[in-house]
Amino acid sequence: MRRAHLLGLGFMTPALIIVFLFFLAPVVLTAVFSFTSMSSGTGISGGAYEINEQTLRSLTDRGFPKAKSEKLGHDLYRIGEEGLGAVEADFGKAFADEIRAELSGELFEGRRDLERELKKLRSRPRSIRDLKKAADLFKRSVLNTRFESETAFLDGVGETGVELTADDQAVLVKTAYTGWSWTTANYELITSMASTWRAAKNTAFYVLLTLSFNVGFGLFLAITTFYLPKGQAAIFRAIWILPRILPPVLYVMMWKWLTWDTGFLSIFLSNFGVEPRNWMLNSDINAWVCIVLINGFVGASLGMILFSSALRAIPPSMLAASEVDGANRWQQIRHILLPQLQWPILFTTSYQTLSLLTSFDYIYLSTDGGPGRSTEVWALYTFHTALNNYGGVLQYGLGAALALVLVVIGIAASLFYLRLFKFNELVSQPRIEQ
């Protein structure tokens, strides 16, 4: 390998590591997760095996023999030698002897009852926790016990004396497992749920509308400031770059201040007899207008920067030429400026399409999808599903599947744009051949 190769790869390494860790690996993980039933109920790292009331009911539903499940459902504590030996080892002979004397051979249904008996003993451990531990040593059932591994679980079940057929065992293990499992259900859900379709529709609507605003208004800003004297142009550009650089939280807060029913608009308009109202959330239409404006201003800033620099690159003599040729301002814009902006417009369009598809901060902070989910876009829907909802049940698996849809769309779109931008022409060969 040539020296420049090594230098090049060396130069790329930091970026490659970061991109690998926080982009590529997550993409792969997302793909994996999307085929699991992972949620905050199953945990991410894996589950345990446990039989409880809920499991017992499910077992019956799944055709597990009722007799056996009833047996498994008994929470039994028997004072026997085995337990006494353990108590003696852990808590001393005095306690063990006392238990032997008072309770030997007794059977308790549930730990609480045993605990109460133990509490009466004189040589009981002082800590309530130890008392409970001691009680546990007499446990002769598996109900409500968490086993970390399948074998431990089956051993435990075996000790209760419940005989299992292979079928029974399979059902039991499956039902008792609290962790996640592999499934394609997420994708079935996505296609079958009305809410995903609504999110998809919202997304299309949002992207289309905001994009048109971004590009249209960005163009408008770039062109108008282009015609203004230097000083004025600088001031307006400065004003319009603000939405992009102000922190979203603050920026959205200012919008809320503007649109809330006690906000600027309401107060201002009340002078003209308009009822105060929440201009942002008053209706779907208002919400959409706000969303589009909030995001649109931000996007227009970017458009303005890009378009302005493209306009600055137009040789002044070309403008002079068109004026000498008799073009008025509109004709100049139409025939000279706009055609020059073809590439920047295309670039902005593609870049913004993807950004709009996948980012949701501003919606999250402003309407959070409301009113009534009417502004909930796919990315936000994904976020809500996977990480952020009132019920607190975070469906990682479903969320991942939803995210993966976006990833796929994003990559497909990027590839399309790469072609559109004639990527091959962009990668010119280095002119130094070392």
Partner: protein, 275 residues
């Protein structure tokens, strides 16, 4: 501009359209130091009490504004520094060096450039957890860096592309190695890009909300974005003017950067807009 067109109609129109932003900004300043009776737009007395939050001890269960500010600074500065340094080398490699898989890498950067990773946040959480960086500022910094990096690399590549090849060739024939050429001759030519990118990634990190909120909810690594948002969301919270004061405090560095480096910021795509 040319003498053939009048500019005042444009000025009027733009001025009118800019009103929302101007109004927001003006009131952002005014409201932090005044009180206004409900239902009125004209402040009726000057006060500094909305700024109490700077000095009062934080309420129980809330973070101290100064430590939050410090966190935000660390977050923004480190992100900016890492993004800039990484983009500086990667951008150069992609722009100028012969290396295997160059096309692939370049295409990859372009794809990522257009593809924010926010949607992958669950898996990112997992990566952080595996590396033990969840709930730490460092984790958020790295993730934010990864998010900003493609843009950074692309911008820097654009700037490198504008450096004349002849300068490098001259350097080589003058006896310098590729590395020396990069460090001594090429780097000084991409200053504008460096400044713009540094500022932009600083601002981006300074403003970031979702990542810290999800990836570092702990009070110890809270940043101003989450601090402010939590304040706003508190449904029995005090006055709006205090939010604005916190907001203004939060935006202060942004405004300062913006006032001083306005022109530099506009440079961000100076390296060429195609792609």
């Amino acid at each position: 501009m040319s003498s053939n067109f009048r500019s005042w109609p444009m000025t009027l129109l733009l001025g009118f359209l800019s009103l929302p932003i101007i109004v927001m900004m003006v009131y952002l300043f005014v409201d932090t130091v005044t009180d206004t009776t409900a239902g009125s737009l004209i402040p009726d007395r000057f006060t500094l009490e909305h700024w109490r939050f700077l000095f009062d001890a934080p309420q129980a269960g809330r973070s101290n504004i100064w430590s939050v500010t410090l966190n935000t600074f660390i977050f923004a500065c480190s992100t900016s520094a890492i993004v800039v340094m990484t983009s500086l080398t990667s951008g150069y490699a992609l722009s100028r060096l012969n290396m295997p898989y160059r096309r692939l890498l370049l295409g990859g950067v372009l794809t990522l450039h257009a593809f924010p990773t926010v949607t992958l946040i669950i898996s990112i959480f997992l990566m952080l957890q595996m590396t033990g960086l969840y709930n730490s500022l460092l984790g958020v910094i790295l993730v934010k860096t990864a998010l900003e990096l493609p843009l950074g690399i692309w911008v820097m590549k654009g700037f490198y592309d504008t450096v004349p090849w002849e300068i490098e060739m001259a350097g080589l024939t003058d006896g310098a190695s590729r590395f020396t050429v990069w460090r001594r001759l090429v780097l000084p030519q991409v200053h504008p890009g460096l400044a713009a990118l540094g500022l932009f990634s600083f601002l981006a990190a300074w403003s970031e909300y979702i990542l810290p909120q999800v990836l570092a909810p702990d009070g110890a690594s809270q940043v101003l974005a989450t601090y402010l948002q939590n304040l706003i969301k508190d449904d029995r919270a005090p006055d709006f003017n205090m939010f604005k004061s916190v907001g203004l405090f939060y935006a202060m560095p942004v405004m300062i950067i913006y006032l001083i480096f306005n022109q530099k910021l506009m440079n961000i795509y100076g390296g060429g807009t195609k792609g």
